[in-house]
Symmetry: C2
Subunit: 210 residues, 2 copies
């Protein structure tokens, strides 16, 4: 008979396997439209385990978001608090956001699906857990840059939307990349090129040119 610890371990293992399968399917399809049947097939596990671990689709999606992005907020807090000039912090931040979208290109779709298709409590939770801390960190870095006399004064909310939209779109609009530009796969090199491009774009727009 398995011990409680072993049962707990295998419970975590199956939850992880379900999240991995969901993540892989969403990445391949470039869409968050995946069914419990798809996930069960992909993971080789019974779909009843999805309900057991996550309750419903919203629970599964929240757990995936937490797994993919939740861990980055500790680093973000540390970055904001670090003894480092604001431009350097902002560059790190932008490259971190792009890396996250590169690894989990379905991220913004997931946030959208949870915020639009579910109840407003979920949408509010997502905003508190992810959007607000991200926007607050950017605001702190922007204000530091103004205090240091190197950034011009920009509206942090508008900056948030332009940063997230710009960082995400290459990964979000894979169909355009494929059919309009003939590019099937985003390589690590292209990801770095896009990160450099967006960083340049955003930094040039906030740095004071003296």
């Amino acid at each position: 008979m398995a011990s409680t610890a072993q049962r707990k371990d295998s419970g975590i293992a199956s939850a992880d396997a379900l999240l991995n399968a969901t993540s892989a399917l969403m990445t391949e399809r470039n869409s968050v439209d995946v069914t419990f049947v798809d996930i069960a097939q992909r993971s080789g596990l019974n779909s009843a385990l999805i309900r057991y671990h996550f309750g419903n689709k919203a629970g599964l999606f929240m757990a995936l978001l937490e797994r993919d992005a939740g861990g980055t907020f500790g680093n973000l807090d540390a970055l904001v608090e670090a003894d480092m000039p604001a431009p350097q912090k902002m560059r790190h931040h932008i490259s971190g956001v792009i890396k996250t979208y590169y690894r989990y290109p379905y991220m913004n779709r997931l946030v959208g699906a949870l915020s639009i298709d579910t109840d407003s409590e979920t949408a509010r939770f997502i905003a508190e857990r992810f959007t607000k801390p991200l926007a607050a960190a950017q605001k702190a870095i922007l204000e530091q840059g103004v205090r240091e006399g190197v950034f011009r004064d920009v509206d942090p909310m508008l900056f948030y939307f332009s940063l997230i939209g710009a960082c995400d779109h290459l990964f979000h609009a894979r169909h355009s990349l494929k059919y309009a530009f003939g590019i099937d796969e985003i390589t690590d090199e292209m990801r770095r090129g896009y990160a450099d491009h967006i960083t340049e774009l955003l930094m040039e727009s906030i740095l004071l040119h003296r």
Copy 2:
């Protein structure tokens, strides 16, 4: 008995009414998940008319995209050909893109739904009809700016993705605006503020600072 011309007129009128209802529903819901039943209810017309006019959902979506964005490409061609400095052209272009997303906030979702959920022929058509002309116009303006010695040399494809992503995101992520920033409605003033912000951001990043 109605004349052929009258019948034709009323056919156009009902097609228009169906497109208007679809557009209104997508705007309200901030989602392209609308059913034929919803559209019939909203327009007060029989849902069989959707099949009659547009064939299927993809046909309806394509017609809506054509109605909303198709007409702008004539203006875009004229802008590219105009006798006007490149920075001025780019500013006009950016503000035009933002105006389009403000009027039809579901635009990029529509392109996504048509490109991901339908056959690759549709995705290819969308790319040829919308994405490529947009990217080509931007490329022409960027090249003009380099020839004029006022723009630095940027990758037009990366520029395309950053421009579209940044322009779209405020309208796309209405849920974040609502739950993270407490803003329920995008006013005309906020739209103009965002247009100015994005224009500044993109222009600062491509203009050579001498």
